[in-house]
């Protein structure tokens, strides 16, 4: 996907930026699902990306779902109408939200009208993304252990005037009642800036 941008090694276009960000989401979500143990580890396979060994799912249903969401994300990123992507991890038993991985997206809407690509090298962006994914992997050390069976959901915050596409529906924000937040690193393609945050349920027994 990044090769489309690669034809112009020096600059970043809006479409290329959307591609990069969407790809980051795909790998990031996979990493979260693996690290937090939402799906069994044997359903993941190793892949080399961003100079790291990443794990992506082989579960066909999950793959299909992620592809759907990421493709839709890409389109919205291109239109600059998406504000935020949230990975919500909740307990199956009582539907209680235990973790929220929030990726705030700041779109530079002026890029829509510009034709000239921005100056930022592919390598620098990849380095930034790598550090974000490394942080996601490192958060396992302080996040509370998920002892009960959990499932995840992807929420996308978009502009109000967007027409809801087929198979999509409006949802609540799914807050955590008593949460602790940790800001992670951010990266930018100069068109899209992605700020990462993880919020998790505070332990009732400190």
């Amino acid at each position: 996907m990044a090769k489309q941008v690669g034809r112009d090694q020096q600059g970043i276009t809006l479409r290329g930026s959307a591609e990069i960000v969407a790809e980051f989401f795909s790998y990031g979500i996979n990493s979260i699902l693996y690290q937090r143990g939402i799906y069994p580890p044997e359903t993941f396979t190793r892949v080399q990306k961003y100079g790291l060994t990443l794990l992506i799912t082989t579960d066909p249903e999950l793959k299909n779902y992620l592809n759907n969401v990421v493709e839709q994300m890409k389109e919205w990123l291109y239109k600059c109408i998406v504000q935020r992507l949230v990975v919500v991890i909740s307990s199956i038993e009582n539907n209680e939200v235990l973790e929220r991985w929030q990726f705030d997206i700041e779109c530079d809407k002026t890029a829509k009208d510009e034709n000239e690509p921005r100056e930022k090298s592919q390598k620098v962006i990849q380095d930034e993304i790598r550090s974000v994914i490394r942080q996601i992997t490192a958060t396992v050390t302080f996040l509370p252990l998920l002892e009960i069976a959990c499932a995840f959901d992807l929420l996308i915050y978009t502009d109000k005037d967007l027409a809801v596409p087929e198979k999509w529906e409006e949802s609540g924000p799914q807050f955590i009642a008593n949460s602790e937040e940790v800001r992670l690193r951010s990266f930018t393609t100069t068109i899209h800036k992605v700020n990462s945050t993880v919020a998790y349920k505070k332990d009732s027994f400190p």
Partner: protein
């Protein structure tokens, strides 16, 4: 060995003969002649061989015999040598024996001597024995006495034994009594239980009685209510009777009613007339009232008239006394109006004056400031004037000096003129004169200038003084006004205070709002971190078939299934608990089978228990039998007192407590040890003999049995 060989040959010959015979039987018809000749040859060969063998045999026998003979000879020699040796030894022995014989003879002699000595001793001993016999007799006598005593003692022992038996009897009886008492106690306990039950029943009955009593009370109350009702009903009956009598009176009443109706009609007519009359009366009464009122009013009016006349007179008097043109109240009211108007105008004036006072106050403040300014100016001017005066004095001094100089110069010049010839020096002098005159003129001009300046300054000072006076006057005016204006200043001060307070309040509010704003901004940031959003601008979307909702749905379905299964199972459990047969719609077969199984298992359990009980009974009887048999056969009753410890009580025991305690050192009971007790101490001999030396417990036990048996039989 040779015989054996011979036998074999005979046997082999026989066999060959037999073989031959059989062969002959079979093959005779074919070749009789040839076979016979062969046999003959064979036979001859055999015979020869036998003869040879016999020869060899005899030879070997001969050799053997010769060898034996040699051996015999050797042995004979040996025997002879031995016999010779024996003869020698016998001869020696004979010599030794002869020696010993001699010795023995000497000894015999010695012994004979000793014998005589012993005989003497014997005689002494006999004497001694006689003495002893005598003592013996005495002793026997004593013994007899003792025996008699012993017999007595035995008697007493028998008596005591009898007592013991009696005591045993009594003990037995007591035990019997004890058991009977125990049984009685149990009976009593049972009775107590029965009594308890009865008591409980009684309690229940009491409760029942109490309940009944409460019921009774209720019933009594009901009865009372009913009695009350009854009395009421009686009352009612009385009323009814009265009513009946009244009913009887009814026709009369009706007649009366008719009469009354007629009367009524009459009265109605009368009433109408009466009404007319009443109306007339009312009209007349009203008129009367009116007249009365008019009369009363008349009186009051007259009174008022008098009062008014008095008032009029007083007014007239007022008119006379005041001199005003007030004849009537109208005039007064008019005057009051005019006065009010005047007051209003005065008030307006007052307000204008106060406002002007305020303005004047402000002006005063300004003027005061002006005054201060002007005073400062005045001071400055005064200083200036002083400076100017000083200047003027200096200038005057200078003028004086200059005039003196000029005079001096003139004098000098005059002296020069007088001294020198005017022709030589006149131009020069003239020039000097002129110069000096010019200088003088300049000084004059300067002087006049300074004077003008001085006058100007003086004028200015005068002006300032005037102004100062003016201002002082104003000051006075303002001071006079100040008194009036103070009130307004107070008001303004209050206003200022209130305004200041307001300002302070507003300031405080502003700071508060700033803090709020800050905290709200903080909150907003936190909320954005937590995932909050502005619903007016943003909406949250998610894929409808997301994994979380799918998982939830799956879970719900599972839950439902489990719920259903649980319901079904509960139903079956309920049915089973009810003890009824399972309905066919509820998986009949499985549960039915299970119930049947349960029944079968129950039966099996019962039969097993029954078997167990029977076995127990059988074992118990068998054990009893076995123990009895053991007791009778071995003469010992074996009891287990504690673990690994056995008590043996003999059948011939003299006392009940006489028993032997054995302890099994190993659990298998292969090694037993006798434990010491009182009884075992009395049979130490048997223990030493049988256990310590022979190491046999059965022998020990048998010996003990025999011992005890013999003792008992003697006794």
């Amino acid at each position: 060995m040779d015989d054996f060989e011979n036998n074999t040959t005979v046997f082999s010959a026989l066999r060959s003969l037999n073989n031959f015979i059989s062969l002959e039987g079979v093959s005779a018809p074919d070749t009789p002649g040839s076979s016979r000749s062969a046999f003959q040859i064979q036979y001859q060969q055999r015979v020869q061989m036998e003869e040879q063998a016999g020869q060899i045999h005899s030879k070997s026998q001969l050799l053997q015999v010769e060898r034996e003979k040699m051996q015999m000879e050797l042995s004979h020699k040996r025997a002879r040598i031995e016999l010779e040796k024996a003869a020698n030894t016998n001869a020696r022995n004979y010599e030794r024996e002869a020696d010993r014989n001699r010795e023995l003879l000497t000894r015999i002699k010695q012994y004979q001597e000793r014998e005589t000595e012993a005989e003497n001793k014997l005689k002494e001993q006999m004497e001694m024995s006689k003495c002893y016999k005598k003592s013996m007799e005495t002793m026997s006598k004593k013994l007899q006495e003792k025996e008699s005593k012993l017999a007595e003692a035995n008697e007493t022992i028998t008596v005591l034994k009898g007592k013991i038996s009696e005591l045993q009897w009594s003990k037995m009886n007591q035990e019997m009594q004890m058991t009977s008492q125990d049984s009685q106690k149990q009976e009593l306990m049972e009775q107590l239980d029965v009594q308890h039950k009865k008591w409980q029943e009684a309690c229940q009955q009491i409760q029942m009685l109490q309940a009944n009593q409460s019921h009774l009370a209720e019933y009594e109350q009901k009865i009372k209510d009913l009695e009350q009702k009854l009395s009421q009903q009686e009352h009612d009956a009385l009323i009814v009777k009265n009513m009946k009598t009244e009913l009887a009176r009814l026709p009369k009443m009706e007649r009366e009613l008719r009469q009354l109706k007629e009367e009524n009609a009459y009265f109605r007519e009368m009433k109408e007339n009466n009404g007319l009359l009443k109306e007339e009366v009312e009209g007349l009464q009203r008129k009367l009232e009116r007249f009365e009122k008019v009369q009363a009013q008349l009186a009051t009016v007259e009174l008022e008239n008098e009062k008014l006349l008095g008032k009029l007179k007083s007014w007239e008097k007022v008119d006379q006394s005041t001199g005003l043109n007030i004849r009537t109240p109208d005039d007064l009211s008019r005057q009051i109006v005019a006065l009010q108007q005047r007051e209003l105008t005065l008030k307006e004036q007052n307000s204008t004056i106060t406002s002007s006072a305020r303005i004047l106050e402000k002006a005063r403040v300004q003027l005061q400031e002006d005054i201060i300014r002007i005073q400062s100016q005045l001071l400055e001017e005064k200083k200036k004037r002083e400076q100017h005066e000083a200047l003027v004095r200096r200038l005057q001094k200078r003028v004086l000096l200059l005039t003196k100089e000029r005079d001096g110069m003139r004098a000098i010049l005059e002296s020069y003129d007088s001294e020198l010839t005017p022709s030589e020096h006149s131009p020069q002098l003239n020039r000097r004169m002129r110069e000096a005159e010019e200088m003088v003129q300049k000084l004059h001009a300067h002087n006049t200038e300074l004077e003008a300046q001085l006058s100007q300054v003086l004028e200015e000072v005068g002006n300032h003084k005037q102004r100062a006076e003016m201002l002082e006057v104003e000051m006075k005016v303002l001071k006079s006004q100040e008194c009036t204006a103070e009130q307004s200043t107070i008001i303004t001060k209050e206003e200022i205070d209130t305004l200041r307070q307001k300002i302070e309040e507003l300031e405080a509010e502003r700071s508060k709002l700033e803090e709020q704003n800050r905290s709200l901004e903080m909150k907003l940031e936190k909320l954005t971190v937590q995932g909050d959003y502005d619903p007016s601008k943003t909406k949250v979307l998610h894929f409808s078939m997301n994994p979380a909702s799918l998982a939830m749905q799956q879970r719900k379905e599972e839950h439902q299934q489990l719920q259903e299964a649980y319901e079904r199972l509960r139903e079956t459990v309920r049915v089973l608990e009810g003890g009824g047969s399972i309905p066919e719609n509820l998986e009949g077969l499985g549960s039915l089978q299970s119930s049947q199984e349960i029944a079968e298992l129950k039966k099996q359990v019962e039969s097993a228990e029954l078997k167990n009980q029977r076995l127990k009974e059988v074992f118990q009887t068998k054990i009893q039998e076995f123990r009895k048999v053991c007791y009778t056969l071995t003469g010992y009753q074996i009891d287990i007192t504690t673990e690994n410890q056995y008590r043996l009580t003999s059948i011939y025991a003299e006392h009940q407590g006489d028993c032997l305690l054995f302890k099994a050192s190993s659990s298998s009971g292969r090694k037993m040890q006798l434990l010491e007790n009182e009884f075992s101490r009395t049979i130490r001999e048997l223990i030493e003999l049988h256990l310590l030396q022979q190491d046999s417990i059965p022998a020990f036990l048998s010996a003990l049995t025999l011992d005890l048996f013999s003792r008992q039989t003697i006794a």
